[in-house]
């Protein structure tokens, strides 16, 4: 089968990554502030995401994590601060431009296309990669059909990878929550992004499913070298998967570092963890 499946049999020690701190910065957020009317969602936050790492963003509810992702992919425009993408300060952009530059994401409240099947949802992730014009589409012949089939193959790889073959033709609206999350991940993967933003991908999953999901995230990260920003409330997952963690509270950054550091940080324990995990 595909390369994706192949990697799953690699010995786990095979991947020797350079230390996170040494890698090139993919995206940097500098002094970003965002408010809605009176509500300050984000206050003067700076951090960076390095190529190939898994960067976790954690913090209590309403801390501004989702808003941060929204800023990164252009859905919100911060009032202050800059975002540097691959070394260039980014101008104000529309979300689809962010997408075309290689930023993909999943959503906290699953945002799948409810009326479409799993297959179509994942195919929709390939939108930016398909180019055949209207004329060929109308005929559905020649180039358009070949293109469709070629992308279909890619999508089938993803379906295999996520083990959702059985629901290929099911309209996603009817799927249980956990599977929806998985489909959503598939859709983001289909975009072959450089930076993948995951907003609570494991909320509402049981342990077993979380394990599966963790595996997928690791595989994506290790096999494709995709950089991942991850919001998650399950500390076990965060601590195990991420290379570095940034902690927000009330829109401010209260800690940033490798998991062990963060976990031991008293501010983080007070604001977020409650008891030491």
């Amino acid at each position: 089968m595909s390369a994706v499946t192949a990697v799953r049999h690699l010995p786990e020690t095979a991947v020797e990554e350079p230390e996170a701190a040494e890698r090139e910065v993919l995206l940097r957020v500098d002094n970003v502030s965002l408010s809605f009317g009176g509500v300050k969602a984000i206050t003067d936050i700076s951090f960076d995401i390095r190529k190939g790492e898994i960067r976790a963003i954690i913090g209590p509810n309403g801390a501004g994590k989702t808003s941060m992702l929204n800023v990164i992919n252009g859905f919100y425009h911060p009032q202050e601060g800059t975002i540097t993408w691959r070394g260039q300060v980014r101008r104000k952009m529309r979300p689809y431009e962010a997408a075309s530059q290689g930023i993909a994401r999943t959503f906290q409240n699953v945002a799948l296309f409810k009326g479409m099947t799993t297959l179509d949802n994942i195919m929709s992730g390939r939108t930016l990669k398909m180019h055949r014009n209207f004329f060929w589409q109308v005929l559905h012949y020649g180039p358009a059909r070949n293109e469709e089939i070629e992308h279909r193959k890619k999508v089938e790889d993803i379906i295999d990878f996520l083990e959702i073959q059985a629901i290929r033709k099911t309209p996603v609206g009817k799927l249980p929550y956990g599977l929806q999350k998985r489909v959503e991940l598939g859709r983001a993967l289909a975009m072959e992004p450089d930076l993948l933003l995951l907003d609570e991908p494991m909320a509402g999953m049981n342990l077993e499913e979380k394990e599966d999901m963790s595996r997928f995230i690791l595989d994506v990260n290790q096999e494709f070298g995709t950089t991942i920003a991850l919001i998650e409330h399950d500390m076990g997952v965060v601590m195990d998967l991420s290379d570095r963690v940034v902690v927000l509270d009330y829109g401010r950054k209260i800690a940033d570092g490798v998991p062990a550091e963060v976990q031991a940080n008293q501010d983080v324990i007070d604001a977020y963890l409650g008891v030491a995990h």
């Binding site: 979300p95 409810k114 939108t127 559905h140």
Partner: protein
Amino acid sequence: MFYREAGQFKTSYEADQALFPIRQDRIGLGIILAIAFVVIPLTANAFFLTSIMIPFLVFALATIGLNILTGYAGQLSLGTGAFMGVGAYSAYKLTSIFPEANLILVILLSGVFSAGIGVVFGLPSLRIKGLYLAVTTLAAQFFLEWCFIRIPWLYNYNASGAIEVQQRELFGVIATGAAATPLTRYFIVLSIVIALTWLVSNVIRGRIGRQWMMIRDMDIAAELIGVRPLTAKLSAFAVSSYLCGVAGAMMVFFWLGAAEPSAFAISLSFQVLFMAILGGLGSLTGCYMGAAFIWILPVLLRVLLPSLGLSVAAETVQHLTFMIVGALIIFFLITEPHGLARLWRIGKEKLRVWPFPYG
């Protein structure tokens, strides 16, 4: 029992992406086409062709047009009538300016004009959504209707303000005007509608169609995935109005023979909207079912109610028709809110699991 896909394996993605992957469906389609092209022409009388089949096909096409916009791209439109009007007036102007031009070409070209107008009125959809968008399409509806009256050039300065279709030939056969036989008109309409349906189904299962559905299901997410709302929405408006325009042109050329501006009034928009919703938003088969239901049922009621023996006054038949159609609309929506097409699918689903009640 007969509707099983067991034993039919798809061995390629081509096969899986075919329009009708299940053999029984293909056979069913074949039978329907055979009825449409052979049985009906052989058996139907003029009334059936002119007052049932031709309008049904025309409406089916218009419904497909609306369904593209509302069912697939999720943009509610109440301007269908006017877009059909644009098609009709364009076709009328085209044949009067180029009397020698091929009729089919004229009809197909007329859709281009309504596509253009549709795109213009689609522009506000970038900002305005949902029911609020209805206002732009209503503005289109009333403004265009007004133009059809106020711009005499459109109807060649006819005193009556109506457009009257002249006699035109197609491959040597009289195809429009009073002298055209119902059969000729039926064949032309049937062929155009079927061809366009096929082309549209191609668009829908490709990238463009997917973009429309993405915008419909969740426009924000679609944009975050890389769909440009501008192109997606406007292309939906264009394709939708194109089909409506062609339907409008055919409505005048092959069915009514002449039309006043009021033929394209808001009631027409609604009629088509009923068809789309009742048939099932987001389903091409549904368009045919909806058109059949909304168009044919009242006609049949009007024709059949008096022949039930009881001699009722003409207007009572009309009243009863209204009541029955209204009640049936509600009944079907309650039975299956997603339209006749879904009802049909559930029926097939049941067939598949038969004799068990569910699978």
